[in-house]
């Protein structure tokens, strides 16, 4: 083929390696890796370190594959929203067909490899997670109901359960609680983002809570879900995965989080616009730290257990 015949238009199969990597949503993947690793390390029993490494890798690839399928299906929305316009498909670097093939191939690959490396219970949970995120959340809930984030948040909450199942081959109350922590955390985290993303979701026609029911209702929901989250997060401190370090961390973080949610609830739009949504942005940043430190505290309990310091 001569150079003259090369089509330099984007989306013709000449994307860079990094464009395909971007389809995997690396930032979301880092959360998946971290929470799955904590679930795996906190589980009773042990697996060979290399098997553990491979299991986390395949869980991450599965999570990334669902991200690629999400970008394929939501390409029309991503083209409208400012936050997502630079993603590989709207930017014209990767075609929708390529993203679909990439996502399907990696989904199958990750589930089969996790089944072979660890066990088929963990592989089944990973397959269900991909199905839930792509079909239940992306294709169905996201464009249909303002509760999309509430129910769809389950997809992002499965990784610690999968990590737990890699070691134990099953599900237990502790792994369900770790799931519930991320599940309950997702709505206030996302709704805070929605409050300061202004018209992005409305322009894209996505029925987010603040678009369908208004910002006042969204602020009320943030407070209610934050209170429910605090009960789950602190309650987890009294289970086998908890301990004094976790409980102290949970008490401090949940006090800050509830105060943040209360401040958002008390405000109206005029107050928020006056300081360019400083409280909402601060709450969103705190939410990232909140989840990281909760799982970090579980990890600390596990790490200190051999020295008689972690756990109850």
């Amino acid at each position: 083929m001569s150079d003259a015949s090369i089509n330099t238009q984007a989306g013709t199969g000449d994307a860079e390696f990094g464009d395909y990597f971007a389809l995997l949503k690396p930032r979301v993947m880092s959360l998946v890796v971290f929470t799955a690793a904590v679930g795996l390390l906190a589980a009773p029993g042990s697996v060979h370190p290399f098997v553990a490494f491979c299991a986390i890798l395949f869980i991450a690839v599965g999570g990334g594959a669902s991200g690629a399928l999400n970008m394929w299906y939501d390409a029309d929305i991503d083209r409208v929203m400012k936050r997502t316009q630079s993603r590989p498909i709207p930017a014209g670097k990767v075609t929708e067909g390529e993203a679909l093939a990439f996502g399907v191939a990696l989904s199958g690959f990750s589930v089969v490899m996790l089944g072979l490396a660890a066990n088929w219970m963990a592989a089944g949970l990973l397959a269900f997670t991909i199905f839930f995120y792509v079909v239940i959340y992306t294709m169905w809930l996201k464009r249909w109901t303002p509760q999309n984030i509430v129910i769809g948040g389950a997809a992002g909450a499965f990784p610690p359960m999968i990590g737990w199942a890699v070691v134990t081959g099953g599900v237990s109350i502790e792994s369900v609680l770790m799931f519930t922590l991320t599940f309950m955390w997702t709505p206030p985290h996302f709704w805070a983002l929605c409050l300061f993303m202004k018209s992005d979701y409305k322009d894209a026609g996505v029925p987010m809570l603040h678009v369908t029911h208004g910002r006042r209702v969204t602020r009320n929901h943030i407070l209610v879900y934050t209170l429910l989250l605090a009960i789950v997060a602190i309650g987890m401190g009294f289970t086998d995965v908890g301990g004094p370090i976790y409980l102290t961390t949970a008490l401090v973080l949940n006090a800050l989080f509830v105060l943040g949610a209360f401040a958002i609830w008390r405000r109206d739009e005029a107050a928020s616009e006056a300081d360019d949504y400083a409280r909402e942005k601060g709450f969103f940043k705190l939410s990232l730290l909140y989840l990281f430190l909760h799982f970090g505290a579980i990890l600390a309990e596990v790490a200190l257990a051999p020295y008689g310091l972690g756990g109850w």
Partner: protein, 55 residues
């Protein structure tokens, strides 16, 4: 001396091919490593293998 001018497209393709090669090499290492771990831990031995060996 290069026979033809290097196009930006060639750099992109080289980067992508290199990335795919590294991924495939990593996959070989992973499968080999998993095989070694599983075989040495006896994951694929039949359940009555130890009885047959007289243990």
């Amino acid at each position: 001396m290069s026979f033809r001018e290097e196009h930006e497209l060639h750099k992109r393709r080289f980067g992508r091919n290199l990335g795919v090669a590294l991924v495939l090499l990593s996959f070989i290492v992973i499968v080999f490593g998993l095989t070694v771990v599983k075989v040495t831990r006896g994951d694929y031995e039949p359940e009555n293998a130890s009885i047959q060996r007289g243990q």
